[in-house]
Each structure stands twice: as structure tokens, then as C-alpha cells.
Chain length 496, copies 2
């Protein structure tokens, strides 16, 4: 199949790497399976070295990679340069998390009377099939959070290139393959395949032990359903786009209206709204004047940029139309570009009584559109919050000196989301130990999983208990001498 | 629908609680949902008090409960008495784990330059639908590991009674409901429903947030598939029966043959082989004489008992027939009882070349039958181990002074199992911090999940990250004053 690399600014195209054959996919999966024991047996600190080497190589290649990425995504060189720097930092972070070793959850209960010696540690699941997102070609791309955390957790990775940036994918894979090879990582530790059929072939390949995906709900659920047809079922971690609601309290609206309006517009139009953490719904007090202020803020901001693919541009227009058909009305809209894959940023108003379970108004529209609803009472606000589907993030804007209802509101919001932000906007996702980037269905296919932060490794391991196994036959994490110097739980208590 | 309580010793029956109506199921699920915030908000140490009160009530009612259990299961009063004592102990253990608080995984990254304050802790998923097993009416019954760990993790539980012990289920639920009420647990914390339709109604009820199941592969997969039809997908943790292989090394066979033969027979016939951890396949060195010794050991042991239900007794006969049809031959068989739901314990021999992927010889037959295969080389042994499906447990019998290949063998066995036992038998499952009772598909529907041990709580929680949330609005686990005195990870390091 002939493959093409498109430029969103013009809609023009150039040749891209050809789709992988069935044989290529099978080879990649088999080589990953063959490499799995050696990748797992490599000490986590050594795998941290692999990841650091890849990160260094990305830094060295920053200029060249950003150039290709900007051609294929039109996200702009400044944004892409810093995204790539952060992606390299994230790889180092996952290496540090691997070396620290808490993800192994090493737990030892020594023999006690008739009770046997029991020791448990996590082991690596095996080859991971990775599907990156269109909107973060570095952060959630070929060498993004999923690949970094899977390698950190001792799993080989086979990436399916995103069709929105095939040339960049090939360049990233080349950088990674060279760096891993120089580090002595086994053949099969990392591979890249191209094409829709290759993706389906990976998900159903017997050698694949887990699937990681970031992208649309339709794409994630399609992979999830495909994986469910396997003879041997495997975990599928899909992180999907959601409507992320932000509540403005009456006290906040009184004193911070202008700042909130500007912040909301900046957040939902960032990268032309192509963020899974985009705040898609602002719930404001009725009569606060915030709806008009947000409209003015959008007119002043005149956000500018392109959509990532022609499909996304088309889906955006259709999505806005669907919102209008469902009862939303236009507050403000800015002019659409006349070149390339364009979209017109817009703010729509909607009555809170329309925001009910299964309403099309509560389905994500990917791109620079957001809804504002004015609530007239706490009861009306709570009814909307209870109707929201699960989301990746949510937030509340409060008064500077605290609001009496904030604790209850945070608690209510946390029932439906993976992250609750106060006085900020959900679009920024810090890469730290405490981060959680996930959430209840349909934000993800597994509410316990995160694709960012230290806990991202946990998706790619499973525990094994060893009963009365002699020390010389135990994995290093559980040996008496503790060669990896882990903090372990011994007989119920922590010990270094 | 008229419901009946059967006695395995005679096949006779008496009336049992009627099947729950659609209305009953809906009420139970809604009350559980209404109770969920209060159950979660109860301090874990207070929930530990609830569990201890239920445990004390079980101890007080031991005699009466064991009597009913013995009528309905014919497992014998000695076994049942100690199973109930252990079940009470397990509830106390899950309470201690709840109070210790590691399951909350409280993690704090304080503000650092432009990076926001991020705090993450697990929160309770919500109402859990619990399906117990026939073979452990206490340990995996109405108040077994799943109920104990779900309540410990702050989730209300709605139990679907197992049809093999409806009167016992009602009695256990009554004990629990009274104890929980005395402790001040909210209405809806715990409920019991009866009947097949009630179970299906629970799994598809919008209020249910997770499903826990212990039992057969067919039962577990049916619930898993049913749950996959839900609009909002939820986790289904099914722990299912597997063939649990045990390897005897040549060195072990030389010096410990008699002990191994006797131990194997005792383990696979324990409780008439009605254990999900039954060692269903012994892999012995060719020419070691172990096959004949196991046959003699079975003849000497003459295990005696009943099957739990007429369905299980029928499935056992059919299962043994299937093994024989697939090429197994009889080594020894003991006489079958002539009363009640009987089964004839048997040892069958099979050529290792028949033990291939998808062979019916590698599908569990629930009951007192086991296979022995004689391997002629390491290559032949490894081919069998590689063909094994995932299992809950596995093991190896080694020589007293160590065996050169043990480390590699343990490593190979751990690829396919949740627990590896050396020189013991898998049927005993200690309840400790380090235990793991689960395993790769088809042992469970989630290879990361355990239904026994401290990590059992993790099935019923999900993380939430709080970004820049003021201290007064944070959950207690993340507040600066650390009111629950948790060991937390702060800025990447552990602190008490």
C-alpha cells in the first residue's frame, strides 16, 4: 500500500514509509517475545541507562526531529521543541522510577511456624503493542510515555506508527534503535510497524502481552474490542478523549471573572483544542456575566493554527454541528483559515437541563470548541456533575480566600475523573511521582491505569508469589542479599 | 422460582430462600450506591473495626454455621470449622491491611517552581458485585476474601449467593448484617441476593462498579462477557480453575520418590479434588518409577468424600471421560461411593507429546483426578511447560541439597503462573502480605489481580490526582497533617 505524509498547513503530501507486511509484523512480535526474558533480566538501573541514552539521542537530534514534526503536524516549532525536550526528560524519569524499584512491590513474609516463606514481586508482562496519539507526536508518540514506561518496566515494545506523522515516526524509531543498540539492548527490544493492518495484526498476535493506546474513544474501543476476540485475553490500556468539565463557584465568578475567562479560552484553544485534557465544558453561575466575557476573550484571542489531519478537521466540523443540533447556541466563533486543514474556534452556550446522561453534548468534540452552561442552583450544578461521563481531568475555580463548598465539590468531581485541578486548567500534565493521567470509563478502559507518572509502569507487570523457593532460585528483587537495594516490605513492615 | 438446598451425602433437598426479584436486585444495588460515599469516608481503621466485629460474630456462630455448611457441602465438620476460623482471621487481616493504609498509595509532590502541587491517592471504586465459589463456603463464600478485601477498600458489597449453599449464605449474611448494623455501618454496606437472574442483573446494573468472581472458567468468562455488554465498562476480576503443573526433578525423584507420591495424592484428592489450586499434572522423569508409586499411594489412601453438587459430579465423570478420549490411560482408580454425589478418585498417565497448546488434556477437570506425564529430556519437559496455559499455581520438587537447574525451572514456571511452590503442594494458600492468588489468563481475567493477600484491596480502588487543591479540600490521606498517619511518598522519597 502506498503511504503518504501530509502537511496540515497546505494539505499537500509526500511519500512515507510503506505499510508493514504481515511477515514484518510477525517478525517484530516474535523478536520482541524472544527478547523479553533478556530485557526483563536486565537490572532496572541498566534499563535506566538505555532510556537515558535514548533521551540524549533525542536531545542531539532535536532540531532535525522538530523540523519533520512541524511539517507533519503544523504544531509550531516552539511548542514541538519544548515537547521533545520534555519527552526526553520523561524517558529519564521513567528510568529513575525503574531504578528506584518500588514498582516491583517486593514483599517478603518469612517462614512463621507452619506458614511457608512467601515472597512476591512484580515481573514484566512481555511485549507491549503501543499505539501513540496524533496530538503529541513526541509526548505520546513513538518514544512517549507508553514506550518509556513499558521499557522501564522491562517489556519490549512494538510501536504502530501514527498515520499523522509517519516520517517522524520512522526518524524517532531510528534514533531509538541506534541508541538501544549502542547500549547493548537485545535485538527485539524495540520495533516500529506501519499501517492499519499492522496495528490489528499486533493486537491479535499471540506474542503480544499488553496493548497501550492514546487517542480517540472510537479508536481505543475498536482496539479493546479487537483484543477481546483473542484466544488468550490480554490487558488493553486505552486512554481516550473526554469532555473535561470545570466549575466556577459564585465567589470565584465575583472576583476573578476576567482571569477565568481568559484562562479558559487559552486552555481550550491551546494547540487548536487538540488535547485530551481540553476543558470542554465550563459550568458558571447564572447571571455572573461569564458567558459574555468568555465570548469576548475568544474574539480577542483569535487562536490560530491547523488541525492535525483532514479527518480530524472534518470530524471537528461535524462535531460542532452535532452540538448545535443538540441544542447548543453560538456565543462566539472566530474566522476559519482558508488554507490547509482549518477549524473555526468557537464557544457555545447550552442550558444545564440539556446536560443529561448520554446527551451528545457530553461527547468529546476534538478541537477548539467548548460549551458554557449557566447553573442557577447547587442542585442544578450537581445534577450536571452526576450526569457527566468519566473524564481524564476536571477542575474548579474558587475564590482566593477559600470557598465554603469547595471540599464537597472536589469530592464530587473526583468521583468522575482521574485528576481534579483547583484554580488551574487541565491542559498541563506534569510528569511526577504523584501524577495520574487516566480516569473512569470512558476516559480509559482500566480505571486503575495511568499513562503518565511513576505508576505508569504498573500497567506492564504482574505479581508472582514464590513459596519456599531457595534463595539462589529467587529473582534478584527477592533474594536475601537484596542486590538491587530495594525498599521492601518484610513481615508486614517497610525496611530499606 | 422455588429454590432448594441440597445435601450431597444423599442428594435429598429442603427449601431454600427464594430467588430475588428484579426489584430486590435493583434495591440492593441502589442502596449500595447510596452507601458508597459514607463507606469510603469511614476511616480505614473504623472499617477494620467493622470487619473485626463480623469476624467475632462468625467465631461466635461457628458451631451453627458449620452445621449448615456440612449439610449443604458434605466437606466435613473438621475441615469446615477450621475454614471458618481462617475466614474470620482473614477478615481481621484485611481490616489490618486497610488500617495500615499502603493500599491508598498516598503520594505527594509539592509545588516546585512552575510545577503545581500534585497529590495522588486511591479512592474506592464503589459497589462490588461478589460471586463466591462452591468449594470454599467460608473462605471464598459470602464473607470470604472478596467481600473482606472490598469492604476493607471502602466498597459496599452485594453478594450473589452460590446455589450450592443457599441456606448457609443466608445465615452468613444475617451474621454480617447484624454485626455491621451494630457497628453503625450505613444501610447498603452489605446485601445478599439469590438466583441466576439476580447475578446477571447485578453484573449489568449501572450502580455496580466492579465484579469479583471465584469459580469455573465457564462461569467466570460468562460474567466477563456479560459485563462487556455494559454501556459503562467496569473491571471484572474472575479467578478461575486451572491445571496446576508440578515438576519433579530427576534428583528429587531419586531420593524423595515415596514422599512425593504420597504428598501428590494427598494434595490432589484433598476435599475430593475440589480446589482451584489442585495439582492436576505431575511431570516426572521417565524411568523414575514415580507413576507406579503414585498409583499405589492412591490405592492406599482411598480418599473419601462427596462432590459439592450433582452438576459437579456429572462434570467430573464427563471430564475424566474427556481425558481418556484424548489419550490418557488409567494408572489407578479407587471405588466410587454408592450414595449421594460421588466420584471415583483417579490417576491417569499421559505421554508428554500429547500435552500441546489447546489439548483437552490441559483443561481443568474439577475433582479428584490428576495426570502424570513422564518426560525423557529437558527439551521434552520444556516443551510441555511452554504449552501450558496460565495457572494459579505451579511447583517443583527438588533434591534436599539443591538442584542445578532449579533457578531456570522456577523462572520458566513463573512465566505461566501466579505462584511457584518449591517442595510443597499448591493446595494451601496462606493469607499474608506477600501472597498472590491469581495468574495469567485463563487463571484470571486480570493478571495483575489477586483475590488473597494484602494486594487484594487494590482491585477495588482507582487513583485520583489532586492538583493545587487546598489542604482543607483534600481527602484525609493527602492532607498535610496526615491524620491517618500513613507512610507516604513525598517528593519521590518515603516518609512516615
Amino acid at each position: 500500500m502506498t503511504s503518504l505524509s501530509y502537511q496540515p498547513r497546505s494539505g499537500t503530501f509526500s511519500p512515507a514509509p510503506a505499510d508493514s507486511s504481515v511477515h514484518d509484523v510477525d517478525t517484530a512480535a516474535r523478536e520482541a517475545l524472544a527478547a523479553a526474558p533478556a530485557v526483563e533480566a536486565t537490572a532496572p538501573a541498566a534499563r535506566a541507562g538505555w532510556l537515558a541514552a535514548v533521551a540524549d539521542a533525542l536531545d542531539s537530534a532535536n532540531g532535525r526531529l522538530v523540523e519533520i514534526a512541524d511539517e507533519e503536524t503544523a504544531l509550531g516549532v516552539n511548542r514541538l521543541r519544548s515537547e521533545l525536550e520534555r519527552a526526553a526528560e520523561s524517558l529519564r524519569f521513567y528510568g529513575e522510577v525503574a531504578a528506584e524499584g518500588s514498582w516491583l512491590d517486593a514483599t517478603i513474609d518469612e517462614r512463621n511456624g507452619a506458614r511457608p516463606d512467601l515472597r512476591r514481586a512484580n515481573r514484566s508482562l512481555g511485549p507491549v503493542a503501543m499505539f501513540g496519539a496524533s496530538n503529541f507526536p513526541f509526548g505520546f508518540g513513538v518514544l512517549g510515555h507508553d514506550t518509556g514506561s513499558a521499557l522501564a518496566a522491562g517489556c519490549p515494545v512494538v510501536v504502530k506508527a501514527h498515520p499523522a506523522h509517519p516520517r517522524l515516526s520512522a526518524a524517532l524509531a531510528d534514533v531509538a534503535a541506534r541508541a538501544l543498540h549502542r547500549q547493548g539492548a537485545p535485538t527485539g527490544t524495540f520495533a516500529l510497524v506501519f499501517g492499519y493492518a499492522a496495528g490489528a495484526g499486533l493486537v491479535t498476535h499471540p506474542a503480544i502481552a499488553a496493548v497501550a493506546f492514546t487517542g480517540s474513544e472510537s479508536g481505543g474501543l475498536a482496539l479493546w474490542r479487537l483484543a477481546a476476540t483473542r484466544e488468550r485475553h490480554i490487558p488493553v490500556y486505552a486512554e481516550m478523549g473526554t469532555v473535561n468539565a470545570v466549575v466556577v463557584t459564585p465567589a470565584a465568578a465575583k472576583v476573578r471573572a476576567e482571569e477565568i475567562a481568559a484562562g479558559f479560552v487559552a486552555s481550550f484553544t491551546l494547540g487548536m483544542g487538540q488535547f485530551c485534557t481540553k476543558p470542554g465544558l465550563l459550568l458558571v453561575p447564572s447571571g455572573s456575566g461569564l458567558t459574555a466575557r468568555v465570548g469576548s476573550a475568544l474574539q480577542r484571542a483569535t487562536p490560530d493554527g491547523w488541525m492535525l489531519t483532514s479527518g480530524i478537521a472534518d470530524a471537528y466540523s461535524e462535531g460542532v454541528r452535532r452540538l448545535l443540533d443538540a441544542g447548543a447556541t453560538i456565543v462566539a466563533v472566530t474566522p476559519e483559515r482558508t488554507t490547509g486543514w482549518a477549524a473555526a474556534p468557537a464557544v457555545l452556550a447550552v442550558g444545564p437541563e440539556l446536560l443529561r446522561v448520554d446527551s451528545p453534548l457530553l461527547a468529546e468534540v476534538f478541537g477548539p470548541v467548548a460549551l458554557i452552561a449557566e447553573y442557577r442552583s447547587d442542585a442544578e450544578l450537581h445534577a450536571v456533575l452526576d450526569a457527566l461521563p468519566g473524564s481524564v481531568a476536571t477542575g474548579v475555580q474558587i475564590a482566593p480566600d477559600g470557598d465554603e463548598h469547595v471540599a464537597a465539590l472536589v469530592q464530587r468531581l473526583s468521583r468522575k475523573a482521574g485528576r481534579v485541578v483547583v484554580d488551574g486548567w487541565p491542559t498541563g500534565v506534569a510528569v511526577t511521582w504523584a501524577q495520574h493521567h487516566g480516569g473512569p470509563w470512558p476516559a480509559t478502559t482500566d480505571p486503575t491505569a495511568t499513562s503518565v507518572g511513576s505508576a505508569a509502569l504498573s500497567r506492564f507487570v504482574r505479581p508472582v508469589a514464590y513459596q519456599d523457593v531457595p534463595d539462589y532460585a529467587l529473582p534478584p528483587a527477592l533474594q536475601q542479599a537484596n542486590p538491587w537495594r530495594l525498599t521492601r516490605r518484610v513481615n508486614g513492615g517497610r525496611s530499606a
